[in-house]
């Protein structure tokens, strides 16, 4: 019950981690089923229809329900601590964001049990996703599930932006902010400007499917390419929404375990902003073969290649940070160091794909699959693993087992390269993507088998991580405030796990790497910026849970409005259920606006007792 009503950013971070981790397992299982199907030619392990569903749900789940929530988990757990704040700007909204994401994700996965998951690919291209080719409810689940989950992401992004702009500790100027916070800041800005476009695209597709509108249906005057534009003006920034926080994690981890200041901090900040900006300018490079013409293709091609410049700046800065440092290869750092060459490889194939004429050859082949998995798994997932190992002691007060951690890294890392490196060559040989099987004698057999073996190795790596988590959970809390002993930022100045109010006294920040600066100046801890006094906290609330639940009910109802029988004459019972769901939502909004939440205070004595217990 405590977990259903919490508005504490640290607990919400843990909720995001559990839910995101669960969907990561679901998406991973789908990937393994895909690889089992492809391990030999003319395999009939799953049917072609099931394969399309697996493929669609794997992509959708991994991007929206695994990767983003796991990043939100880290951001929630760490950002307020890194900037010296007691919570995020809108704790209630934070909780609401989590519950809408979770109920959206559940709605999407309910489709497995109600007669068919979405199967038009994670991009849901029209007209394939229209009712002409997709008469069942699969794509309805996609449209409504993502719409609901997207609301959660959008309000989460606004929340982080306000938190970072308004709630930094005294002295924490923008150019003293830790790199992870900077990355989260730019990511949140991208979310703010990308997700509304997706919302409109999904709404239009929903109108087309449920209410016979004509946005993307050529027979009604609609335009299928319009869907691609709308999807990718969201979808391309989405790639950077995913990767920038991973960049942030890598910056923190490499700097900490090299015992050196991050090389070229201000150029890192500039590069992050530039990547975020350019991320919006290049969406049509997903559409080179649509027929936009040579001028558009050339412009988007050049703009895409430009992104290599700030990314290169970041890569070299990480290398220079390690250069001459006294490097400790903890599990977190192994993941971070492994990230660098892997991401570079993904970047190089990215430049290859950015060349429009070459893209006509690579298009829709396994080369593309290999490229984006190098970026998203080799970049993002390694970054998330690194971040989880790095901040685990802070989140739970327990150290993860290093031996198991290293086993996780090596099996996952080797499995990853085994799976995807070879797919570049499969693609160059002409194996198409999104195809459920292939003929014998095309030269694809051995490489596909190797790829499948690699996928299982990645699965083992994930199992080792879960094992590590379970074993650690049964150990007593053993993490000190600064478990890596070289902590540089504010989160390492407070106990692990932190008390509910984070900071007994808001710290005074006197430079970049605030804690490191105090250490090198010979101080034991931060100078407080305020006297000890009672701390005001927001009260927990069950409303966000019910608001998410209401949206879930509404989505389900409207989806089946056409199928279900009538109620009171001609009124469809599906609409009735949908309206009930919306009433739950608006009822909760009404309650929230009329009931004043005064919160509560944590008294001075309790804070002093906590501080005494720590010493």
């Amino acid at each position: 019950m405590d977990w259903l009503t919490t508005v504490d950013h640290k607990k919400i971070g843990i909720l995001y981690m559990i839910a995101g981790g669960f969907f990561f397992l679901v998406g991973g299982l789908e990937a393994i089923l895909i690889r089992v199907q492809l391990w030999k030619p003319l395999n009939n392990f799953v049917s072609a229809d099931t394969y399309n569903e697996l493929l669609t749900m794997h992509g959708t789940t991994m991007i929206f329900l695994a990767a983003m929530p796991l990043l939100f988990a880290l951001m929630n757990a760490v950002i307020p601590l890194q900037i010296g704040a007691r919570d995020v700007a809108f704790p209630f909204v934070n909780s609401l964001g989590f519950w809408t994401f979770l109920f959206g994700g559940i709605l999407l996965n309910v489709s497995w049990f109600t007669g068919g998951a979405p199967d038009a690919g994670w991009t849901s291209y029209a007209p394939l996703a229209g009712t002409t080719y997709n008469g069942d409810h699969g794509v309805d689940y996609y449209v409504l599930g993502l719409q609901i989950a997207g609301i959660g992401t959008l309000i989460g992004g606004i929340n982080f932006l306000v938190t970072i702009i308004n709630m930094r500790a005294p002295g924490m100027t923008f150019m003293r902010m830790p790199m992870f916070t900077w990355a989260a800041f730019i990511t949140s800005a991208l979310i703010l400007f990308a997700f509304p476009a997706l919302a409109v695209g999904l709404a239009a597709l929903m109108f087309d499917r449920l209410f016979d509108a004509n946005f993307f249906d050529p027979s009604g005057g609609g335009n299928a390419v319009l869907w691609e534009h709308i999807f990718w003006i969201f979808g391309h920034p989405e790639v950077y929404i995913l990767i920038l926080p991973a960049f942030g994690v890598i910056s923190e981890v490499i700097s900490t375990f090299s015992r050196k200041r991050l090389f070229g901090y201000s150029s890192m900040v500039f590069a992050t902003i530039l990547i975020g900006f350019l991320g919006f300018m290049v969406w049509a490079h997903h559409m080179f073969t649509v027929g936009l013409g040579p001028v558009a293709n050339a412009l988007f091609s050049i703009a895409t290649m430009l992104i290599a410049v700030p990314t290169g700046i970041k890569i070299f800065n990480w290398l220079f940070t390690m250069w001459g440092g006294s490097i400790k290869f903890t599990t977190a750092n192994l993941f971070a160091v492994g990230f660098i060459p892997t991401f570079v490889m993904g970047g190089v194939t990215g430049v290859m794909l950015a060349a429009a004429p070459a893209d006509f050859q690579y298009h829709d082949s396994y080369f593309v699959v290999a490229h984006f998995h190098y970026v998203i798994v080799g970049g993002l997932v390694l970054g998330i693993f690194s971040g989880l190992h790095y901040w685990w002691p802070k989140m739970f007060g327990r150290m993860l087992n290093e031996t198991l951690g290293k086993l996780t890294f090596w099996t996952f890392f080797i499995g990853f390269h085994l799976t995807f490196f070879i797919q570049h060559f499969l693609g160059l040989l002409g194996m198409p993507r999104r195809i459920w099987t292939y003929l014998d004698g095309l030269g694809f057999n051995e490489m596909n088998m190797i790829s499948t073996v690699g996928a299982f190795l990645m699965g083992f790596g994930t199992i080792f991580f879960l094992l590590n988590v379970v074993i650690t959970a049964f150990k007593p809390q053993n993490a000190p405030a600064d478990p890596w002993e070289d902590g540089r930022t504010l989160e390492w100045t407070i106990p692990s796990p932190p008390p509910e109010y984070n900071f007994a006294q808001t710290p005074l920040v006197r430079g970049y790497d605030a804690y490191w600066k105090e250490k090198t100046d010979g101080h034991k801890g931060m100078t407080p910026a305020e006297p000890i006094g009672p701390i005001h906290m927001p009260s927990p609330s069950i409303l966000p849970f019910f608001m998410g639940f209401g949206l879930f009910i509404a989505g389900l109802g409207f989806m089946y409005a056409k199928d279900w029988g009538n109620l009171f004459g001609s009124f469809k019972s599906g609409y009735a259920l949908g309206i009930v769901g919306l009433l739950i939502l608006f009822g909760c909004m009404f309650l929230r606006s009329v009931i004043d939440d005064h919160g509560f205070h944590i008294e001075e004595e309790e804070i002093l007792r906590d501080m005494g217990g720590k010493a």
């Binding site: 308004n166 703010l192 695209g201 209410f211 009604g220 319009l226 009329v594 004043d596």
Partner: protein, 205 residues
């Protein structure tokens, strides 16, 4: 800062920004409006891409009745002015005037909405239904999204009026009024674009 704002027991100058919660709300709402701009931008793009796809339905220049739309525009723009008066009343701490200006704003907004509903009803009878063509789908989606925003704003400001009547003007209610004012202006600005892009450009054959 005006001289009378330091008097003991009175609301601070700019009460909507007096607390951290208030400042967070105002900033968060500015950002939210940034997201709304993208939302409407995408809707406008879709409309512009599809506005000539009328199929068998009536084209825009035969359909639109500018006098009616001009009257609706006048109502909505006036309501933006009255919401400015409301925020001015907020800053000068005149609760009574604040409530009255908000009521006038809501009435003008409701008038606008009534005209829009009549307009839609009229168009449907002219053979311009939601499913007629890509033009009609994108028209009703864009203008309807705006109308839904107006309807939401009317409900929201009404709830704020009730809160003001019960609790008065405090550092808790002030940010709500201020933020609702921002929302109302935003709706107006969007309408100016709709008036230009949808109606005026629609009249150009």
């Amino acid at each position: 800062m005006s001289a009378h704002s330091h008097v003991e027991g009175q609301l601070p100058h700019e009460p909507e920004k007096a607390t951290l919660e208030g400042r967070n709300k105002v900033l968060g709402f500015w950002l939210f409006l940034g997201g709304e701009t993208v939302l409407f931008g995408t809707l406008f793009s879709a409309f512009l891409a599809l506005r000539n796809q009328v199929l068998d339905g009536p084209p825009a220049h035969e359909l639109f009745q500018l006098p009616l739309v001009a009257l609706a525009t006048a109502l909505l723009l006036t309501s933006s002015l009255t919401s400015v008066f409301a925020v001015h009343a907020l800053h000068t701490n005149r609760v009574k005037a604040l409530i009255n200006w908000l009521i006038i704003t809501v009435i003008l907004g409701a008038g606008f909405l009534a005209l829009e509903i009549y307009e839609f009803w009229h168009y449907v009878h002219e053979g311009h239904g939601f499913t007629t063509s890509a033009f009609s789908s994108s028209f009703y989606t864009l203008v309807g999204f705006h109308g839904a925003h107006v309807a939401f704003g009317i409900t929201w400001i009404t709830l704020i009026i009730i809160q003001l009547a019960r609790k008065g003007l405090t550092v808790v209610t002030a940010p709500k009024v201020y933020v609702a004012g921002m929302y109302w202006h935003f709706i107006d600005v969007v309408w100016v674009f709709i008036f230009t892009v949808v109606y005026l450009m629609g009249k150009v054959v």
